[in-house]
Amino acid sequence: MSDTFKMPKLGETVTTGTVTRWLVAVGDTVGFDDPLLEVSTDKVDSEIPSPFSGVLLEIMVPEGETAAVGAELARIGLPEEAATPTASPATAGPPPLSSATVGNGGGRALLSPIVRQLAARHGIDLSTIQGSGAAGRIMREDVEAAIARAASLSPAATVSPPPAAPLPATAPPPVTATKLGPRDYAEPLSRMRLVIGERMAESLRIAPHVWTSIEVDMQAVEEVRRRHKERFRQQEGTSLTYLAFIARVTCDALRKFPVVNSTIDLGRKTRILHHYVNLGIAVDLAEQGLVVPVIRDADGLNLRGLARAIRVVADKAGNGAYTNDDLSGSTFTITNPGPAGDYASAPIINQPNSGILSTNVVSRRPTAVGDAVAVHYMTILGFSYDHRAFDGVTASRFLAFIRDALQGRDWETELG
């Protein structure tokens, strides 16, 4: 008796997943909760634990192929079932080899475990193979050669490569392979790096980026922050960050400038205006990648609510506990390189948004106050926007709104 393992639901809106890697080979034993395979969806790589203990008897969906939620992926059962796998032409019943070919007299072919496994996995008919081992025994290399022959005859008949993404309208120039020297090492890219790479290149390709920036006097924010930070930390268990203030006024600015909070579609000659702000916050994963978890309906939150929400999504992302749903649906994004010390930064737009705000280091700088020079906490806000969606004057007024709100708002009302 065996159990069938099906593609799990990896998020509310996820309907398919791609098997990126089987972590257990057919014939190997897997325990309950042991890692079984890696599945990738739009943005998330998930390691799926086995819900059963037993021997992995059969893999129905090979690496690189995509399956719907609920599709059968593998069979797991008792070890003795492994000896007689079902529904596999190459191994159902006694292997179709004459005793003369293999010379072992018993009428059953001498087939090693690896030969059986390779033949079953690749659908190779072993009776068509001439063995090169002693007395014509079929060796691993003989099956591998047969697999290679089958692949060269009909590429589609055997394991097909993962479905290629639709080609971009303008094909990228062919990349010439970099020659590896003795002190070079070609490191394979993680799935996340590949996805980020493709998305960044794609965003720059489709959206004409323009960068602008504005200087903001953060002295008022700093003073409020200083007055409330101890109490805030005690009450909330998290710091009152500059980011929370900036996110708060950005939500207001997005409501005032709806085209900045829009998704443009030149193909359909439309833009989608959102009557809500789903705010993406870029979170670094220990320099191994970047994800953008989304705070839904962020425009309904006050300063305290946003500070809480930022902490929740950042923790979830840092722990790798996010699902595809946590990362989708943003209408605008903030990236925050400031803690690392950036003076002014020009990020790439997180598609399908029309703009991205970058928050940079807040530091004490001389600035004119009236006719005097004072030392205030100052910062630069950077803003990359899609020039297809709106023009420079909108961008400048959007930033000026944020600046004025940060400098002039009565923050006590939100922290009382």
């Binding site: 014939g27 090693s112 475990p113 690896i114 030969v115 081992g133 060796m139 691993r140």
Partner: protein, 330 residues
């Protein structure tokens, strides 16, 4: 002082001495004891000059009484020192079975307290030294829970594994090949970084058969692999380096790749450590195997004194080549 130019190479024996000096210089709790380790500089001169350098409290000549000085070392370790015990020949270690097995190897399990002792045992045949000076002892001790066992094949590993053994908080049996002492050299200077216990090394990559071996077998294996490469047969050589705990991940990765395995050692075949390795490979890799796991080992006899008979008793290159060829191609 005459100026000396630094030697260009370091022998396996010098590497052991370097490893010892490195730890004795760094840690005043490390001390040596054994028969003739002081005045005479060790049966094979590994500790030549140590008595002058470290004095008689740290380089202790003992009577010919392995059980006694092994017990002394265990006691010193319990009191916080880090003794390194030298047995002149691994063969003599059987006199100290009780101290090693019943006192030392059990201690941490019984009490939770560390007992950092290193047992240095020059082992193996090929020196025409006869049945009581040529034995391999890893199988006896491999069966004992609580002992780690290392068996380096190269000068770099000889130094690095000795340093790890001394720093380990529990007993380590360090099997040094007296056949390799002056036969294997490495470019100077050696790294004095510890080589982690429990980590095997793929010393030659190949695709058709994995040779799993240690100590002298590594050098025989590399030579055989070179010969077979000329015939178009690709051999992967895995230097186990540590016997307990076995680096199963490296072994399984290699055998799963080549789907064939040969185990080689100089100890006797019956219940030799190769039996354990072969059984483990079979359990872990059965579904990826293309043939039986094969052992190459010494005959089940005492090691003969006669050169001709000794050569017949322990694995030689022709047998290794023909076995690898057979496993890879039939």
């Amino acid at each position: 002082m005459p100026t000396e130019t630094a030697p260009a190479t370091v022998s396996y024996l010098e590497a052991i001495a370097e490893g010892l000096r490195s730890e004795m210089d760094a840690d005043p709790d490390v001390f040596l004891l054994g028969e003739d380790v002081g005045q005479f500089g060790g049966a094979f001169k590994v500790t030549k000059g140590f008595l002058d350098r470290y004095g008689p409290r740290r380089v202790v000549d003992t009577p010919i009484a392995e059980s006694g000085f092994t017990g002394l070392a265990c006691g010193a370790a319990l009191m916080g020192l880090r003794p390194v015990v030298e047995y002149q020949f691994a063969d003599f270690i059987s006199c100290a079975f009780d101290q090693i097995i019943n006192n030392c190897a059990r201690h941490y399990y019984r009490t939770g307290n560390p007992i950092p002792v290193t047992f240095r045992a020059p082992f193996g045949a090929r020196l025409r030294a006869g049945p009581t000076h040529s034995q391999s002892v890893e199988a006896y001790f491999g069966h004992v829970p609580g002992l780690k066992i290392v068996a380096p094949a190269t000068p770099q590993d000889a130094a690095g594994l000795l340093i790890s053994a001394i720093r380990d908080n529990n007993p380590v049996l360090y099997l040094e090949s007296k056949y390799l002492y002056r036969r294997i050299e490495a470019p100077a200077p050696l790294s004095l970084d510890p080589v982690p216990i429990g980590s095997a090394a793929v010393v030659r990559e190949g695709t058709q058969v994995s040779l799993l071996t240690y100590s002298v077998g590594v050098h025989q294996g590399l030579e055989a692999a070179e010969v077979l490469a000329g015939e178009g047969i690709s051999v992967e050589v895995v230097d186990l380096r540590t016997l307990v705990p076995l680096d199963l991940a490296t072994i399984a990765a290699s055998v799963n790749k080549t789907s064939r395995a040969v185990v080689l050692h100089e100890d006797g075949r019956r219940l030799g450590y190769g039996a354990e390795i072969a059984a483990t490979v079979q359990e872990e890799c059965f579904w990826r195997l293309d043939g039986p796991v094969v052992r190459i080992a010494a005959k089940n006899t005492p090691i003969p004194t006669s050169p001709a008979l000794e050569d017949a008793a322990v694995p030689q290159l022709p047998e290794i080549i023909s076995t690898l060829r057979r496993v890879a191609t039939t």
